[in-house]
């Protein structure tokens, strides 16, 4: 809407402005409180403690690993949903979206019933090879992947849908196989969406708590990610919990800035 048109419909009414301002306040106030309680002088010491460094390293590694899995499995799924019509298409999309709305702790329980020692797949795995999945770093990666894969798939599917399928047609007339078309045309054109999906999914992984603590437990060095550390520290050393929280806040803001560059601008355009 142009400025002139905006002026023509009149001034924004107070009964809309006040709740809008309240909403902003409500969202910002806790963050301000967090920053105000941050023990800035002790921050360097708090953040370089072995516990924090372990959790930070584990969080970065598992979130990144989850995104590698998401890219490897999620990109083909996103392509399939965006480009191929098959029976049950709508149903598959619905299934993919379920983890988005599922309470994370339920996701953790579901993962346990699937891959736990008594789980559907976990039991035969343990009996045949002695392999245990729950309460390992691998379990953390699985939990992260389970909750972040839908974010990735939906983001990439949207990006693929937004690229003109006529380019695929042109490539086909030039003799390119469907795989070549995907590799050299479809995927490169959707790359901003792939990037946005990776960042979004990575951020979701980084903050993952419920599924992780249920399925992987809270063991320092192997399954204790940053959010789990915050939860634990809050009970024994609240100052340290605030310090770790601040790091996560900064990481989130950095992610937002990255996305703004590549994603929000694109949507706004």
């Amino acid at each position: 809407m142009s400025r002139a048109a905006r002026a023509a419909v009149g001034r924004p009414p107070v009964r809309l402005l006040v709740p809008a301002a309240l909403a902003v306040l409500f969202l910002v106030f806790p963050l301000v409180a967090l920053l105000s309680r941050t023990p800035w002088s002790d921050l360097p010491r708090d953040l370089t403690s072995g516990e924090v460094l372990d959790a930070l390293r584990l969080s970065l590694e598992t979130s990144t690993a989850a995104m590698v899995v998401a890219a490897a499995l999620g990109t083909p799924l996103a392509w399939l949903l965006a480009r191929v019509s098959f029976p049950g298409h709508a149903f598959v999309r619905l299934l993919v979206a379920v983890p988005l709305v599922l309470p994370p702790v339920v996701a953790g329980v579901a993962l346990l019933t699937a891959f736990g020692r008594e789980g559907l797949l976990g039991k035969p795995l343990f009996e045949a090879f002695g392999v245990t999945i729950p309460f390992t770093t691998f379990a953390v990666v699985l939990a992260h992947t389970f909750v972040s894969l839908p974010f990735y798939v939906i983001s990439v599917e949207g990006a693929l849908r937004a690229t003109d399928p006529e380019y695929d047609v042109v490539a086909a007339t030039l003799g390119a196989s469907r795989w070549t078309v995907f590799r050299r045309v479809t995927l490169p054109l959707a790359l901003p969406g792939v990037f946005a999906g990776l960042v979004l999914g990575w951020a979701r992984s980084l903050g993952e708590f419920g599924a992780t603590i249920t399925f992987a437990g809270n063991f320092r060095g192997t399954t204790q990610t940053m959010p789990l550390l915050v939860y634990q520290q809050l009970q024994v050393n609240p100052d340290s919990a605030v310090a770790v929280s601040v790091i996560l806040l900064f990481v989130s803001v950095a992610v937002l800035a990255l996305l703004r560059e590549h994603w929000f601008d694109k949507v706004a355009r």
Binding site: D164, E166, Y167, V169, V170, A171, A172, T173, L174, G175, A176, S177, T180, R184, V185, P188, L189
Partner: protein
């Protein structure tokens, strides 16, 4: 059997396309029709992008589709396609766009880029090889798109309104260039257009579509001068005069003279719309440099205008307003002067006499 032999039947809820096409190597067949006549559907069916509901496509002695054959995929059909809106891959530079086809068909990177450079040079855009599509003008992008389509050495070239999205001046220049490239292209070309001028200048055969069916086929001259239905006349009503050009002067086959603004040597066609012809009773003294005396052979209503046929300059069509027709007392046998401004005349090469004759013998399908 011809080089290209196609019976394309595609049924849609709104309309049915049922078209026969055939072409010899080197032929350029223009499929002309209004928007929505099924022209693009026809091209897509030939390219294998749309399944045929009935019919067959045979090209270069290979059955692409038909009863008892599994339809060849688009990749298996050796087609080159040029689209109205170019559709250059936006993430690849011009060179990579043109090299895409050869690489997809198995050439190594270096060989494909060599082929691409050759084709960019032939289209006169080799200096733009490193540019991304968004850095190209419409005309430049369409040249790259043509190079891309030809670089795979297709047996069938499909042009979908290749000039429609361009500025008039750019389209004019590219039309002339395209004539030359098509003359050097060994396969068959199917050109889809709604512009009679494209059909007249680029093609040696014209197929006029009406509501998904062929209304008339023939050489551009035949169709333009003897349109069989009103529909065809509306679409391709153009004066096409044959002659020999020397500079901007053209000696027409009936012996009369014509002047254009395009310098050209040798056999040419001179082309101008019926509305560009003005009729007077006395010899005109205005700025129009082309003026011929003649006798009216027929007068018939044509949309909001009146279409007049004369025997001037070997046969002319003129569109005049009903008021002028009444004022001039136009009726068969009336002696009049016809005048055309030199700037209204499009000149293009007439091509070899033989191919025109051969094409003229192919029976047209009503």
């Amino acid at each position: 059997m011809s080089y290209l032999e196609a019976d394309v039947v595609v049924r849609r809820a709104a309309h049915t396309l049922d078209v026969h096409l055939d072409a010899a190597p080197g032929d350029v067949v223009a499929v002309i029709g209004p928007n929505g006549a099924g022209k693009s559907t026809l091209l897509r069916a030939l390219a294998g992008l749309l399944p045929l509901d009935d019919g067959r496509v045979v090209c270069a002695e290979r059955a692409w589709d038909g009863p008892g054959t599994r339809p060849a995929t688009t990749q298996q059909r050796n087609v080159g396609m040029v689209f109205q809106e170019q559709l250059l891959f936006p993430h690849l530079d011009a060179l990579a766009n043109v090299a895409f086809g050869p690489r997809s068909r198995g050439a190594g990177r270096r060989a494909a880029e060599g082929t691409a450079r050759t084709w960019l040079a032939r289209l006169g855009v080799d200096d733009l090889a490193a540019r991304k599509p968004r850095q190209l003008s419409g005309g430049q992008a369409q040249r790259v798109a043509i190079a891309r389509a030809l670089a795979t050495e297709p047996s069938l070239l499909l042009l979908d309104e290749p000039l429609a999205a361009l500025d008039v001046g750019v389209a004019m220049a590219l039309r002339l260039e395209l004539t030359e490239h098509l003359a050097g292209y060994p396969g068959a070309t199917v050109l889809v257009t709604h512009d009679a001028l494209d059909a007249m200048t680029l093609a040696n055969r014209v197929v006029v579509l009406d509501d998904g069916r062929v209304a008339q086929t023939g050489t551009p001259q035949e169709v333009a001068q003897r349109p069989r239905t009103d529909h065809v006349a509306r679409l391709v009503g153009l004066n096409v005069l044959r002659g020999t050009s020397s500079g901007t002067d053209v000696r027409l086959t009936d012996g009369s003279a014509l002047v254009s603004v395009t310098a050209r040597e040798g056999a040419v066609n001179a082309c101008f719309p019926p509305a560009a012809v003005t009729l007077t009773l006395a010899e005109p003294s205005g700025s129009a440099r082309n003026r011929w005396p003649g006798t009216v052979t027929s007068v018939a209503p044509h949309g909001a205008a009146v279409r007049v046929h004369l025997d001037a300059a070997g046969g002319l069509i003129a569109d005049v307003t009903p008021e002028s027709a009444a004022q001039l007392g136009l009726s068969p046998g009336r002696r009049v002067w016809a005048a055309v401004k030199a700037t209204e005349v499009t000149i293009y090469g007439a091509g070899p006499e033989g191919s025109q004759e051969a094409a003229a013998q192919i029976p047209s399908r009503p």
